[in-house]
Amino acid sequence: MTTNDMPRWATGFVLPILNLLSALLVAALVIHLLGEDPVDSLRILVNSAIVNPEGLSYTLFYASTFIFTGLAVSIAMQAGLFNIGAEGQMYFGGLGLTLAMLAFDASMPAIVLIPLGMIGAALFGALWGFIPGYLQAKRGSHIVVTTIMFNFICASLMNFIIVKYMIPVGEQNTASRAFSVASEMPRLNTLIPALGDTPLNISFLIAIAALVVYGVMVWRSAWGYKLRATGLNKHAAHYAGVKISGMIIVVMLISGALAGLGSVNSILGSTHYLSLGFVNGAGFVGIAIALMGRQHPVGIFLSSVLFGALIQGGFDLSLEKPNIPTETFIFIQGLIILFCGAMENLYAPAIIKLLKARKG
């Protein structure tokens, strides 16, 4: 009996929860070793990230970005491609968005400007995903290594572009000029005042729509069938008439575009300018989200909210407990990836045994 024989509720729900709990247990142990109370820390974290409406609003704001990077990694994974480059693709997407804003933000109304920004972000993100995809499809270079290289290349390139061309004359801050007010994503607190003064904006709704489109595309369309066939068995899919190299390139284009769209929430939803390193690990969080959410829309949503909560709650926690800096949550991210991604079947034998014992 393998994991394939397990009921769906066990593989889709029980295993991820057990893995997540294991990761949090190790995290709790580390927090304990740092001389802080894990239970008290968890209470502060949950309070400031979920219970408090303003905190929850921040959590969902972070989650909006993560949904996009999570979707980017997930759709590539559906085709059996491990896209580690979401970080660079989102960063480069931010450049596309910024170029669109710098060109048009003085002359266009919001209704034109925001879609324009999104198109710019998606196009540039797609370009940054296309090259590794093309190299994998046509030259057989490994997508993992090339996307890692592209993250580094992007970081250097953006450093050069921002420092050399973007900083307004006389400014010290390594960032572009601020965009006009028309470019700002409408915030949700204008509809629901209880959310408080937070940057949660319509990107969140667009992210939800993207999740739905992703679900329909992957599981309810002919293209999605070919996509999943490619991921399950490239050779069989090829025999069935799927053009593998074309598939790889298209998937990497979509993946890059999704990662690029993640920059819309960060830039147009909050800062309103392009700054050095604004992505700040969101692309890597996308890997964790895709793995933990098992590339399923509901899973991606839930794990995005979880990571949003970890960031928001972690920020408040670090203010109250000096021994738990926000970097602790980078460590916890790593733990979650380890338990939910690499050791996903850790508890499978035990559960299979348990199920067998109950049946027999």
Partner: protein, 322 residues
Amino acid sequence: MFEDLHLGGILVSTVRNAPVLIFAAMAGLFAERSGVIDIGLEGKILASAFVSAAVAFTTQNPWYGILAGMAVSVALAMLQGYVAITQKGNQLVGGIAINIAMSGLTFVVAQYFFQQGGRTPDLGEARLFDVVLPGSAAVADVPGLGWFYTKLVGGHSVLVYLAFALVPLVHWVLYHTRFGLRLRACGENPHAADAAGVSVEWTRYAAMLIAGVLCSFSGAYLAIVQSGFFLRDMSAGAGYLALTAMVFGNWRPVYTFLGCLMFGLFGAVQIQLEGVDLPVVGRIPGSLIQMVPYVVTVIVLAGLMAKSVAPKAIGIPFVKSR
């Protein structure tokens, strides 16, 4: 312009840059030749850099630092082995998880113990000393030879010599010993190795053990030789660069070593070129020079310079056939 580009300086700093990559790349070579992808080099380098620096500072003894770094790096390699070999999990994911986790944890622990923004204090006397070769004083003033003997060949720490000595050793182990033969068999065709009575699991664990030990030197070198302290994320992609040197070198020790030297050279040239006016192009910003090794790697990977062939069974968990 060439007066500004100090050729001698570039060569010396190439020799000083390369060991970080050589140790890590040789570590990766053992792991990957046995069939386990070692994308977690970065995390192991970072962890051993921090622990070496912290222990060397606390005990004021660089050797204890190296030993402690080794213990941590081996522990991480065993964790990677457990994920890849026993759990048959995704090796890429396991390695990346270790990299991310260590990037966070080293900062947190460094901050907890030293309260200096995730940095360890300067090691001072606890830094590893440089070896002065016998007769250095006698030839120091001889033009050419003096520079060659005291600066290029001499005057480095023991770890530099170890790194360069490692290359023929790894070559010998891989190609001229029974263990090397078995190791390569496990990476190319584990089922054949299994049929021949070789334990694929144990061979891969042994390879990970060696990888852990070698990788620890990389971190130790970074912290207690090159900089003399630990700094957050100080490995700055060295693990990934070592991995690409290995891909560049076709998973063969000598070519991998040449790849490491090439990347070391880029690093040295980058520092030298900063602020130098070149003909035609003028000043090249550091961020663009920084890009060069990665672009070169992509070009190599695209097969435009050479075709690299990975071990066949790399990344595939071994399941004993019945």
